[in-house]
Symmetry: C2
Subunit: 352 residues, 2 copies
DNA sequence: AGTCGTGTTGCATTCGCAGTCAAAACAATT
DNA sequence: AATTGTTTTGACTGCGAATGCAACACGACT
């Protein structure tokens, strides 16, 4: 096929700026065929020592990097994964994202990041996800069962991170909120707290719901009923507001507050101290979930259930990689247990 | 060219799972040519109403999404931009990243995220960046002049975010640290502070250096000389350690501490209160830079110079988009001024 | 010398789409 | 009716790399 030589003789040899170097250019310079070049860049392919060396030298001299786009087109593997995150401002997610990209990179995958602010965007984002032919998706954002169904239809593996589908099977990595909540609540109860309050997360957060429900159930089992619950949205302000609402609802402030995440717990502590002039933990105990950075700051020393972010990311990528190789693998939920971090934001009983 | 029809007659009509739908499939179903399908998905292309409608219907029925990979190969536009971030755990960067992806998305660009932990990784990451033929790069991570030079050689636009090259021209968006530092320092001085201390950022942070240098210069202009400076690394612990070091170095704690970022300022406040039992701001004033979320929490109410993250992201993407269209545009540094956020972490003079 | 096996190498084709060019269809004019 | 102008459409090629297949080279063995 004549005319195939993409940049015939234009380049003298050294990397000319602006000229894109293709495998044909490298081939010509090394005096071999294009397929040979291709093979040299794929390890495990048959190529003699001598050729490999010549090709590599030529490639280096020309500043050649294989075109991942072209490669993807023919191999039908983009080595791209999409990561969907709803609110990066959530303090927990940046840590997760950092872990996910690091782990992905270690596995030779690149991360295409999508941040969703509104629910409505999801479908537009998914359309982009399809267009880029990603090998798989990790979603820390909420998807509907219908949206998730499209993934299996298209044979694109989907792993939920720190959440899962309520109405249908899904592959997911989560932290055991129930066990964690039980540990926190039991020790609060042992310390003598009886008047509890709960600040919940947004309704679309499965883990938020779990944390709240598990806390309530555990309290009920301990004989504490009708625990007041107020809504929150995982941010600082809703923690502040949450405590005020609880205090109003209960006539006077609760003895112990379980918050569905750390940032709200921090807001709650600040509200207790600065608005209600309550000493923490002498007058009020506060606990949270996540184990974000600020939770360990001296002003808070929050007692919380730390999520094993690193291990979760690891698990998510392992599951994803497995499903990229074999899309037929059945849905699976991997549940890791959290780590109880005992701070000074709550008076706790001795534990078991 | 026979055999071109990628999935000849296999699919009955409805989207068969696992089968990838191409523009040929859509074309066959709509009874038009492949080029017609291509044109229908590109707006501004000539196509009759009727055809457009038929094609769109067929595409919808088959669940067709154009293959961005194939498109990129031929158009030589991937619509991908790479974002390089060194430490996502930095609290300032998640906010910036969220803005950047949102803005990129609005401009029809997708974000390929690279997080660097060590310096050594940079070259590996850049190799990946080249392979994916991104249209441009936004770097919030440090690059050497040599590394940056490869960008112009390859004609890939590079925009530095919140930093710039010291040894060479570069296109960058930054916040005016000098003016901000001056504002902070002058007002601290007006309030009567004379014994200052500075907690610096890591040496590789240009903005960190600027903040420190500008503060020192401004103090010198006000007659305060030999201000002690201790090293920090932008994290909470180094803020805590920083204050201890300053106190030791100065025999007793400083009256006012300028910290090169908010998180260190927070650490510094905590150290003052809980380690040195100093009331903030009665006994010691603390100021920071960035305007991150926690800075406004009730425990801190930090006086800080907030970076206009949103406008910075906007500017970065605008500059990038311009340079993607015209790679010849000269380097340019766009400097936005910060917003002085007056909290209660410092006693300040009246300002001008 | 002939046969076989092993290891290298090149040719030709393919991935899915965009864009060029020319043919075709249609409308507007003389 | 013939001509011109305008829009719509389809055939074909190529983007850059991977790969099945066949050809080839080389050594070992009969």
């Amino acid at each position: 096929m004549p005319g195939r030589n993409s940049s015939s003789g234009k380049r003298a040899g050294s990397a000319a700026p602006g000229q894109v170097v293709t495998s044909y250019d490298v081939a010509r310079r090394a005096g071999v065929s294009q397929s040979a070049v291709s093979r040299c860049f794929k390890n495990g392919a048959s190529a003699s020592h001598e050729m490999r060396e010549r090709v590599m030298r030529a490639a280096h001299e020309l500043g050649y990097s294989p075109n991942a786009i072209a490669r993807s087109l023919i191999t039908k593997r983009s080595n791209l994964i999409a990561v969907l995150i709803s609110n990066l401002t959530n303090l927990y997610y940046p840590e997760a994202l950092a872990e996910l990209t690091a782990q992905a990179s270690a596995r030779g995958m690149r991360v295409l990041l999508f941040t969703l602010s509104g629910e409505s965007e999801v479908d537009q984002v998914l359309e982009q996800v399809w267009q880029y032919r990603v090998d798989g998706v990790i979603s820390a954002a909420r998807l509907s069962a219908a949206q998730a169904a499209v993934f299996s239809q298209r044979r694109v593996p989907l792993i939920f991170f720190n959440r899962y589908l309520l109405d249908g099977p899904s592959t997911a990595v989560v932290c055991d909120q129930t066990g964690g909540a039980r540990a926190l609540v039991q020790r609060l109860h042992q310390a003598g707290h009886r008047r509890f309050g709960v600040i919940a997360g947004p309704v679309d957060s499965v883990v938020g719901q779990e944390r709240v429900q598990a806390s309530i159930d555990c309290l009920a089992a301990l004989g504490v009923h009708d625990v007041p619950v107020v809504a929150g949205s995982f941010d600082y302000d809703s923690g502040v507001r949450g405590l005020h609402e609880l205090a109003k609802k209960m006539r006077k402030p609760p003895q112990a507050v379980v918050c569905a995440n750390d940032v709200m717990a921090i807001g709650c502590m600040d509200a207790a101290r600065y608005d209600l002039q309550l000493d923490v933990p002498q007058k009020i105990s506060v606990v949270g979930f996540d184990g974000v950075g600020p939770a360990s700051w001296a002003s808070y020393r929050l007692t919380t259930l730390r999520q094993p972010v690193q291990r979760m990311a690891e698990a998510a990528l392992a599951m994803l990689a497995d499903r990229i190789l074999n899309p037929e693998l059945p849905p699976e939920r991997r549940v890791l247990s959290g780590i109880l971090v005992v701070g000074t934001s709550a008076r706790l009983g001795p534990g078991d």
